[in-house]
């Protein structure tokens, strides 16, 4: 057996097992892909309004940090609850 034969056998076996694995995994995935999708974006959100677009130089540019600087919220994060560990109540019952 020549080196050429050995290389071909190794190659062939590798590709063959790779393809067989891919076929088997695809079949399993197809049979079990129920329940994968979540609610679509359009069901929950109004259109995303983009207020600013900018092309930045690179990932390490200082301007990138400026760009994503946090905006102070106008409203508190938790709706009227003084204690975030408190159990959620119906809004009609919050005093």
């Amino acid at each position: 057996m020549t080196a050429q034969d050995v290389l071909s056998i190794i190659m062939g076996a590798g590709v063959g097992i790779g393809i067989a694995f891919w076929i088997a995994a695809s079949i399993l995935e197809k049979r079990n892909n129920v329940g994968d999708s979540h609610g679509e974006t359009y069901l929950y959100s109004n259109d995303v309004m983009v207020t600013d677009k900018e092309k930045l130089q690179d990932a390490l540019h200082p301007k990138l940090k400026e760009y994503i600087q946090r905006v102070e919220p106008e409203a508190p994060k938790y709706p009227t609850a003084p204690n975030s560990k408190e159990q959620v109540k119906r809004t009609g019952q919050i005093k």
């Binding site: 590798g14 088997a24 329940g35 979540h38 259109d47 905006v71 009227t80």
Partner: protein
């Protein structure tokens, strides 16, 4: 605690196929909104138990499922309610019971989506899913799935404002850098976003049940719970906020990435603020839970009780999967070897002494073939990881006990 038929005084149950309360004894049907019951008035002045009162301050409360014992109004038998359960079935007479103190005014849901998928339909969907699966374990082939419970899960329907500044890394730059970076600032409002209010059920499982058609929500009436189990909400404000924030971020970032199509690699930096508005609503949504054991492991399949969407994976015979993959791989390998051998010898390997250009081409083909095989194996591994993750959710002990601890 059972709502009785005004014609024959037997307990009524909600029948999904009819969308009404149904008396199995005399066949009478009533719309839930039309049925008045003295029991409902009891809840008006009842104080609901807080989470700490139900579970205590101990963080390990999940391990200690305390029961509260009530009396069935039909037969006087003991009804055992665990944790935050609100309705159940009497194990002695089989009649449905709603614990009205648990739906006291403070925690009465605003809305409910009644079951529209019947028990028989749900079981049929699961049997069909199992019968279509490949490489089933022997145990599952003979299994007759019939352990099913309809449970109303608590959901919070929230509106929220989300503001975010994000930087998208996009493929396809210049010779200097293969990426470009694009900043996008913006805001959006999320409306009618359903959040699971039950801590025992994982967020991943509950989000897979979506979407629910919220236009079918009706004003809450306890009578819809008859014949089904249900839980009240036990999540905190922090949990509600974190779940909303996570989903809002997902929606915003996936929307801005769409502008760049498949070239959008990832969000490499971002800053955001999410604020839940004060008009969130409390609702109950229907889910069928089907449980069975396979190879000693618990399995729970969820079915959206409104749309029939199934969430869950079916176990497979791992030994058979391994051997079939290896044997078919070897057979395919033999065929490819013969093919490649012909190509390689025509183009020449180093030993044949042919010119160097042909030998390089031969080596290139061998190298490319190896990459090809590795690529298939990599894609297959990603698919298998996805299926295994879904199977892990399906075989969650926590979810199994969430269903099985209920009586009836």
């Amino acid at each position: 605690m059972a709502t009785l038929c005004k014609n024959c005084n037997h307990a009524l149950v909600f029948e999904p196929a009819l969308g009404k309360l149904y008396c199995a004894y005399c066949g009478s049907q009533f719309a839930a909104e039309d049925v008045e019951s003295d029991s409902k008035k009891y809840r008006e002045n009842e104080r609901v138990l807080t989470r700490d009162e139900v579970f205590g301050d101990d963080e390990t409360y999940e391990e200690f499922l305390e029961s509260y014992v009530y009396t069935c109004s039909e037969c006087g038998g003991e009804i055992s309610i665990h944790g935050t359960e609100v309705s159940t079935t009497c194990i002695y007479c089989g009649n449905p019971n709603v614990v009205f103190s648990r739906v006291a005014k403070e925690m009465t849901p605003d809305y409910i989506i009644p079951f529209s998928v019947t028990r028989e339909q749900a079981l049929r969907y699961v049997q069909q899913m199992i019968s279509k699966s490949v490489l089933l374990p022997k145990e599952l082939k003979a299994l007759n799935v019939n352990d099913i419970k309809g449970i109303y899960l608590p959901y919070w329907v929230v509106n929220a404002n989300h503001e975010e500044a994000a930087v998208v890394q996009v493929r396809g730059g210049s010779a200097v850098s293969k990426y470009t970076y694009h900043g996008r600032k913006g805001y959006m409002t999320i409306k009618n976003f359903p959040l699971d209010g039950c801590r025992m059920l994982s967020d991943e499982s509950s989000t897979c049940l979506e979407p629910f058609d919220l236009s079918a929500m009706r004003k809450f009436d306890e009578d819809y719970l008859l014949g089904f189990y249900s839980n009240s909400s036990d999540i905190t404000y922090e949990e509600m906020y974190l779940a909303t924030e996570r989903r809002a971020k997902e929606i915003y970032e996936s929307t801005i990435k769409k502008e760049f199509g498949k070239n959008a690699e990832r969000i490499c930096a971002e800053s955001h603020q999410t604020a839940i508005l004060n008009d969130y609503k409390y609702a109950m949504f229907p889910v069928w839970f089907i449980t069975y054991r396979c190879e000693g492991k618990p399995n729970t399949i969820l079915i959206n009780g409104q749309t029939g969407k199934i969430v869950g994976a079916v176990p497979w015979n791992k030994k058979a999967f391994k051997w079939i993959t290896i044997i078919s791989g070897i057979v395919l390998g033999v065929v490819l070897t013969l093919l490649l051998r012909g190509i390689v010898s025509a183009l020449g390997a180093p030993e044949t002494g042919k010119d160097s250009a042909s030998s390089i081409t031969g080596q290139f083909i061998l190298g490319f073939g190896s990459l090809f095989g590795m690529l298939f194996a990599t894609v297959a591994s990603i698919k298998m990881a996805k299926v295994k993750k879904l199977l892990q959710l399906t075989q969650s002990d926590k979810m199994f006990h969430f269903v099985k601890k209920r009586q009836g």
